[in-house]
């Protein structure tokens, strides 16, 4: 079974036509990969479906805008993978 990061990277590569081998756990989705907000909607849709979750994008964006979080916390892919693992764990715990 592939890791959460691998699944995310594959989704990004396929959704945004970015070569898979340029996507690393340290990649920042916005700053390094140049993913814009519209493409990120597509990615969020694919991630939500793949993991059976609802990524709280609005909450994350609000936290960044309020200075309570940095974009790195959510958009560096290893961190995004960790957030997704947390959401999946919370979902399974509540199931």
């Amino acid at each position: 079974m592939s890791s959460t990061f691998d699944q995310i990277a594959t989704i990004i590569a396929e959704t945004c036509d970015i070569p898979r081998d340029t996507i690393t756990p340290e990649s920042h989705a916005i700053d390094d990969l140049g993913i814009d907000s519209l493409d990120f909607l597509d990615i969020a849709f694919a991630i939500d479906k793949a993991f059976g979750i609802k990524m709280p994008l609005e909450k994350w964006t609000q936290e960044v805008n309020d200075g309570k979080a940095t974009t790195e916390q959510y958009f560096v892919l290893k961190n995004l993978a960790a957030r997704i693992d947390e959401l999946v764990a919370a979902k399974n715990a509540g199931a």
Binding site: L38, L41, A44, F45, K49, K54, L57, E58
Partner: protein
């Protein structure tokens, strides 16, 4: 349809918030200047307007699901297929379904038919945000009444 005002939906036939589906009707006018150019001697509804009609149908569904607390804006059109011509005077029936509700966005699928004949279909993505201006909410309330939006679906 009031094409000059970009109001493409005439009435809501069915709204099912549990199933997250909507069915609406849209009467294509017999005459309009659009048909003089699109096309002379062979008037048909432009595909962009059919796509907009499917988007507005989905939009009303999303307004219902969010209890009119958020306004949907079309963000993405995928798999838009204009399958058969739509002519002046035809009555379109449009069905839309929410395929996914994300955080601040939603994905719908919509299809329009005349009778049982499928005319077009598309997968649509919307961003939705709290109403950016109170006057827009007032306008949407008025439109909702006009097209027969079920009142019980308008209150939080």
């Amino acid at each position: 349809m009031q094409l000059d005002y970009f109001q493409l939906i005439d009435r809501i036939v069915d709204l099912n918030l549990d199933e997250k589906t909507i069915t609406v009707e849209a009467q294509v006018p017999e005459r309009h200047t659009i048909f003089e150019g699109h096309f002379p001697g062979f008037p048909i509804m432009p595909g962009v307007l059919l796509t907009e009609a499917m988007a507005q149908s989905s939009g009303w569904l999303l307004l219902g699901v969010t209890k009119f607390e958020r306004m949907p804006f079309l963000a993405m059109v995928k798999e838009a297929k204009m399958r058969r011509f739509v002519s002046p005077g035809q009555l379109l029936t449009i069905d839309a379904r929410i395929e996914h509700e994300g955080s601040g966005f939603a994905v719908t699928s919509a299809r329009a038919r005349v009778g049982t004949e499928l005319k077009c279909s598309a997968d649509l993505t919307f961003r939705h945000v709290p109403f950016p201006d109170p006057s827009l909410r007032v306008h949407m309330d008025a439109m909702a009444h006009k097209i027969g939006f079920p009142l019980q679906a308008m209150t939080p």
